[in-house]
């Protein structure tokens, strides 16, 4: 007997989780199966909707205004502006992210010393917005090479931010070894009062009146809000984290938040085992999940493919071509693999747009442009037609298409 549900979501990243949460909130019997940790482990945890047009124009102040101008095959065109807005509403309801008060993008400082346009940001990053004119002190840690505060400060200054910014490097209290993982810092700050006190003292010693303090994203793990607010009240200043990664704590916190939203909405999920194959012709009858060497059938009425893009191997490739590994969905790509990329490191890379194509209900299309199966939709990074890195649209597309796939699938039930 197959394990049965109404909607089966394959992949537990931002797209799959949004799909599952949306459907579960509508009362659908939904199950999510996911293999490994999602791209959120690598990602900054900021939720971009659209920062630049495909032609590189930007930073855009209003991402929603630019959506109708996008090319036809862009996933946002499939979902439409209203769909994107509804999706962001769901996201805002189930997370504590900021930015929903306005359509306007925020510019947030990056650990690379630039600012970047984003639509939603975690509360921990909120005080860092670059359009706030309060002065900033960035504080780095001596052995944390991912965030060099003096360097980031100098770079932000060159970027013309409207506030004074300076950077110092301090030694983290206690004797963590030079290559300690970010989670070690986070745990110590969360659990050890002496570490927190020492940390505050060292920051205070380097501060000259700045009202905002920017730190690497290590301020606590499960209890990060408390760590931050504690620092804020001790310092009497706004405290924010500058995301970096991987491993990215803000990204992982978002993943946790969405899993608990799914749990409270009554969806079920399991992680650790991959979907490896399927049975069915015009409709998918069931998929096969590999569990300790055996293949277990999971059946559903509707399926959503949300296995991510090239980074997480939802799309894979070999010397011969680019493919989607579970359903062998069509992935349009150049035959010559030397045409998959541009010669410039930040050139217009075709590979960045590789993924599956869909109809307006997000059903996956075959090479002839017909639905490959009646009941398979796709959402998130596995979709083609957009370069999220250049556009700064990654999380937004995952949320919008995850929402749209859930709505379309639910209507078919």
């Amino acid at each position: 007997m197959a394990i049965d549900s109404e909607l089966l979501v394959v992949g537990g990243g931002l797209a799959g989780l949004t799909t599952a949460v949306t459907a579960a909130r509508e009362g659908v019997d939904v199950r999510l199966v996911s293999y490994k940790q999602s791209t959120l482990r690598n990602a900054s945890g900021l939720v971009d909707v659209l920062g630049y047009t495909p032609d590189g124009e930007g930073p855009l102040t209003d991402p929603f205004a630019a959506i109708p101008e996008l090319p036809d095959d862009h996933p946002y065109r499939t979902v439409g502006v209203d769909g994107v807005r509804s999706a962001m509403d769901v996201f805002d309801e189930v997370t504590d992210y900021r930015g929903g008060h306005t359509d306007t993008n925020a510019l947030l400082p990056t650990h690379g010393g630039t600012v970047k346009p984003t639509a939603r940001y975690p509360p921990g990053a909120a005080a860092g917005v670059a359009s706030d004119d309060r002065d900033v002190l960035l504080v780095g840690l001596q052995s944390m090479t991912d965030f060099d505060a003096p360097h980031v400060a100098a770079h932000l200054e060159a970027a013309g931010v409207p506030f004074d910014v300076s950077g110092v490097t301090i030694q983290f209290p206690g004797d963590l070894q030079a290559d300690a993982k970010v989670t070690r810092y986070a745990k110590l700050l969360e659990t050890d009062p002496a570490t927190r006190d020492g940390f505050v003292e060292r920051i205070e010693a380097n501060r000259s009146g700045q009202q905002r303090i920017g730190l690497p994203a290590v301020l606590g793990d499960d209890d990060h809000d408390r760590v931050r607010t504690h620092l804020e009240s001790e310092l009497g200043a706004a405290v924010f984290e500058v995301p970096s990664g991987p491993p990215s704590l803000p990204g992982l916190r978002l993943e946790d938040a969405l899993f608990s939203a799914l749990d409270s909405a009554g969806g079920s999920f399991e992680t650790g085992n991959p979907v490896v194959d399927y049975e069915g012709d015009d409709r998918i009858d069931h998929v096969l999940v590999e569990k300790s060497g055996t293949e277990v059938p999971y059946s559903a009425d509707q399926y959503v493919l949300a296995t991510g893009g090239l980074v997480g191997k939802g799309i894979d490739s070999d010397r011969e071509g680019v493919y989607e590994p579970i359903f062998d969905c069509h992935v349009d790509h150049a035959e010559d693999r030397y045409e998959w990329f541009d010669g410039d490191v930040f050139g217009d890379h075709p590979f960045a747009r590789y993924g599956v194509d869909t109809d307006d209900r997000l059903r996956v299309l075959d090479a002839d442009g017909d639905p490959q199966f009646d009941n398979l939709r796709a959402a998130g990074g596995v979709l083609g037609g957009y370069d999220y890195a250049a556009e700064k649209s990654g999380s937004g597309v995952s949320i919008a298409t995850g929402y749209h796939a859930a709505t379309a699938a639910t209507e078919e039930l």
Binding site: H111, A126, A127, H151, A154, A158, A159, E232, F346, F351
Partner: protein, 577 residues
């Protein structure tokens, strides 16, 4: 003529630095000029095989004999650049038996220690060899790090008073009364260490003698004085794997062929190579079939290569030379020997000698012969000492203590740092502050990076070749910005930014030939790290100024000074623990 003759060496590859070191040790006044970084040319784009001579033992016994002699010398004077992996000449069932016998006797004739092992014994040494291997011959091949070796030679030359100028291109030869008397050189950023943004300029350097050691470019230097140097550049591809599939150098035992060597190198294995004549040493096609051929041919020896991950491919150009009367059709027939062309004898142009051809393995011997030749020009009789005096870093390598505790470094990072630095480890790794790892793939710590910056200015590619930082699996995805930050201490932010851009471009270049499977996924991840997390592709510092006031400035109540949070309602946070 000055009491101490001034000799100018053009070319900062293995040949040039070998000559510079030798001449400086013989108390000449030496200037070395290199248009790019040290190893910018062929030396930075070779296979890394310290030849035992086995490869040439049948067809080119003179080269084979030189190789085994120099192989022994380098193990001694450059121990921190050499890993004695040993090598195998492997015979597959379809390979010719009589060639196998010729190889064996050839090795014997050239004094190369060689022994036959059965297929089973070979697989015990290298478990990933194909199961149908017949047998193999063991030889003392090794792996050599060309970057480390060249840097050590340049450092030694400097210790002996030489001036070493990188990013300094010779634009013209100064010829007066039919004699070469110096060069006109264009500095990228002023003399001394390269610093981005420092205005360059032209300089005339006069010398008592000029040595042209520009390898595949030798003809261009010749042109500047109207002499013809017929270098026949021949390109070869090398493909880097993400792990060491083998720990021994694996050669295919058959007459010359493409794709017949695998060299284990640090954490990687390098497949090579091809041999194809090209017209221009700087501009030649780099093609997909060449990479495919490496994998498809060498998997006959090591089948797991078929599915393995490659991290990049690169091409080098051999500076082959043959005397004009030979006229080989096929570049593989051109001798690997080197030639000393005295332009006075050859072309009636005194003051300059060119050296062309040869191999990396025999660079020191080439240097010795050139230095002897230069000594003769000046009637100076001083003995060569380069075969006896170890290079900086190799002076006292017997004491491989456990550096882990001493430098607070975790093994295997500590071990790898010490291997790279050799006897300089103490000096470099004794630092005051914490010494975190900057490049995880290659285990490169801050202290090593800082040491390299002190040697090479604001040039992260120069830091890379000294330390291997950004040369591992992720190809700089995770560490490029960290390296830029390491520069920032010493240099202004705009300089660090330019060096960072340059490093990103350079790392992208070679990866393009490995973009499928794992490495395409890695490239997509790197692209996201740099463009999405860091927004480096739209750096406002590089572009037009932004109107910050047009963007969201947050919603927080600023009078408290603190950003509002959703948990503040739980009863206060100061004592919330």
């Amino acid at each position: 003529m000055a009491a101490t003759p001034h000799v100018l060496v053009i070319g900062g590859g293995s040949t040039g630095v070998g000559i510079a070191r030798d001449l400086a040790m013989r108390e000449f006044d030496v200037t070395l000029l290199e248009q790019g970084n040290l190893t910018h040319g062929t030396t930075g784009r070779m296979h890394g095989l310290l030849h035992s001579g086995g490869r040439y033992a049948v067809a080119d016994q003179a080269s084979a004999t030189e190789c085994i002699e120099e192989n022994r010398v380098l193990r001694d004077i450059a121990s921190h650049c050499v890993e004695m992996t040993g090598g195998l000449f492997v015979k597959r069932p379809e390979d010719d038996e009589s060639y196998f016998q010729d190889k064996l006797s050839g090795c014997e004739e050239c004094g190369i220690p060689a022994e036959v092992v059965s297929g089973r014994e070979a697989r015990q040494m290298e478990p990933h060899l194909a199961t149908d291997i017949d047998k193999a011959i063991t030889v003392p091949d090794g792996a050599v790090d060309p970057f480390r070796l060249v840097v050590a030679n340049a450092a030694s030359a400097q210790e002996h008073g030489a001036r070493v100028e990188t990013h300094s291109k010779v634009r013209d030869l100064l010829v007066e009364d039919g004699e070469v008397v110096g060069v006109e050189v264009e500095h990228d950023s002023g003399p001394g260490l390269r610093v981005h943004g420092v205005e360059g300029g032209r300089e005339e350097i006069r010398a008592d003698y000029v040595v042209n050691a520009t390898g595949a470019w030798a003809g261009r230097i010749g042109d500047m004085a109207g002499v013809d140097i017929e270098v026949r550049p021949s390109k070869g591809v090398m493909t880097i794997m993400n792990v060491r599939q083998v720990d021994t150098v694996i050669n295919r035992c058959r007459p010359k062929g493409d794709a017949d060597i695998i060299v284990p190198h640090e954490t990687t294995a390098i497949l090579g190579t091809t041999d194809e004549e090209v017209a221009d040493p700087e501009d030649y096609p780099e093609e997909q079939w060449e990479v495919d051929m490496m994998i498809d041919t060498l998997k006959e020896l090591v089948p797991m290569l078929e599915e393995a991950r490659t991290i990049r491919s690169f091409w080098g150009v051999r500076p082959l030379y043959e005397p004009p009367d030979v006229g080989s059709e096929d570049p593989t027939d051109i001798t690997r020997d080197f030639f000393l062309l005295d332009h006075e004898e050859r072309d009636g142009l005194p003051g300059m000698t060119s050296i062309v051809g040869g191999k990396f393995t025999t660079y020191r011997m080439m240097g010795e012969q050139i230095a002897d030749h230069v000594c003769n020009q000046f009637g100076i009789d001083r003995a060569c000492r380069t075969a006896d005096v170890p290079l900086p870093g190799s002076e006292d390598f017997s004491v491989l203590r456990d550096y882990m505790d001493e430098f607070g470094l975790r093994s295997p990072i500590g071990r790898r740092s010490v291997e790279r630095l050799g006897s300089r480890a103490d000096e470099v790794l004794q630092t005051a502050g914490p010494n975190p790892t900057v490049c995880e793939c290659e285990g490169v710590t801050r202290a090593e990076v800082q040491d390299a910056i002190a040697q090479s200015g604001s040039d992260l590619n120069a830091v890379r070749i000294r330390t291997r930082a950004s040369m591992g699996n992720c190809q700089g995805g995770f560490c490029s910005h960290r390296l830029a930050s390491e520069l920032h201490g010493e240099y202004e932010e705009p300089i660090a930014r330019r060096a960072w851009d340059e490093l990103l471009q350079e790392r992208w270049k070679g990866q393009r030939h490995a973009l499928w499977g794992q490495q395409l996924s890695q490239a997509a991840l790197n692209y996201a790290l740099h463009a999405t997390t860091q927004n480096r592709d739209h750096d406002p510092a590089d572009g037009e100024s932004l109107d910050f006031s047009a963007f969201d400035s947050g919603t927080d109540d600023r009078t408290t000074g603190a950003a509002g949070t959703d948990v503040a309602a739980d009863g206060g946070h100061a004592d919330g623990y």
